[in-house]
Symmetry: C2
């Protein structure tokens, strides 16, 4: 189980290439995302991640501070990607229904195509430590805001509170349906979008 690297004694050992901080950080993030997504936060060990990168543990702490910090960095990147994807889809739509449709579809496609990032986000409350969770809620707040903002242009008659409520509800519905699709892979992102449209579009137009 233990993969000795024997840096000191080896004859054929490569002398461990040195990389710039930025490069190493990207490399670590890639490995960490994979490990967190497959094993889960708790079962993932810093030693394991370090080994896979081919680096010693203190480097992870040097760059990310803590296990929480490392997860948080992964989450932030994933969340940004998701936000970008949906925001981009919101660009070219002429009416409210079309807009909703495009965003939903973009979301479901994202959860298809970036399975690892999505697995991470889906389990985001994995950690529960107060500092992380509040940070996460802040990030999530952005998504709600974006959604509410988009809806306001379509339905300026609705109250601020109602818009927020709708945004929360729709995002929650999306997340659950994405998890549902993991259990039923035969359901395409178009079908999922259609189901959700059937449920909420009448209430929005």
């Amino acid at each position: 189980m233990k993969v000795e690297r024997t840096v000191t004694s080896g004859t054929t050992d490569a002398p461990r290439k040195r990389l710039s901080r930025a490069e190493r950080e990207r490399q670590i993030l890639a490995v960490a995302e994979e490990v967190f997504a497959t094993r889960g936060y708790q079962a993932a060990s810093m030693d394991d991640i370090a080994d896979r990168v081919g680096l010693s543990k203190p480097m992870l702490y040097e760059y990310f501070g803590s296990k929480d910090g490392l997860l948080l960095a992964c989450l932030e990147r994933a969340k940004r990607e998701l936000l970008d994807s949906t925001a981009a889809a919101a660009g070219d739509a002429d009416n409210a229904e079309q807009l909703l449709h495009d965003c939903l579809l973009a979301f479901f496609r994202f959860s298809d195509e970036h399975k690892q990032a999505w697995a991470l986000l889906r389990n985001e409350s994995a950690v529960l430590s107060v500092p992380i969770n509040s940070e996460l809620e802040a990030i999530r707040g952005q998504q709600v805001e974006l959604t509410a903002e988009l809806m306001r242009t379509a339905r300026p008659d609705l109250s601020q509170q109602r818009l927020e409520a709708f945004a929360e509800a729709i995002i929650g519905a999306c997340e659950r349906m994405a998890m549902w699709r993991e259990r039923r892979p035969e359901i395409t992102s178009d079908q999922a979008t259609e189901h959700l449209m059937a449920l909420v579009a009448p209430g929005l137009t």
Copy 2:
């Protein structure tokens, strides 16, 4: 920080009452639910829970097997309570819209009145270890089934897949809105219900 019990040397020490397994289990569950809900799974320590119960750690393992096992027992109880609450509310409703309304309201009231149980369920994917998560998804499946079943009686024209999709979406929306209400305590359960009804009722009738 360490509260020594000094059982061996004390003069005024109560000799640690012996309880039946069933009673002790209930007592442990109550403490564990509180600790898990407030500190979170990760930060909760078995030693701490044992101390608060006034018991030694091996007893927790004797009765619940592992930390996961203890959390799972808490979750199962909480989930059953929630399921009972909503199922009871489904009893006396004459039409589909009324039914949906009553269930939603029951859910939001539950998350008000059983804050601890709800905090636990809300963070249920806290653990991520594969065995626990699959167990949890199974429990959750019951709720989806119940919801889908209720909707089928109201809308027998919809396909099985669509009913499931609606059930998942509505449950996801509920969960998110309950979390939203934690941030905005001024929003009553009636208001939350009304918002959600406004969003989904048109799509269901």
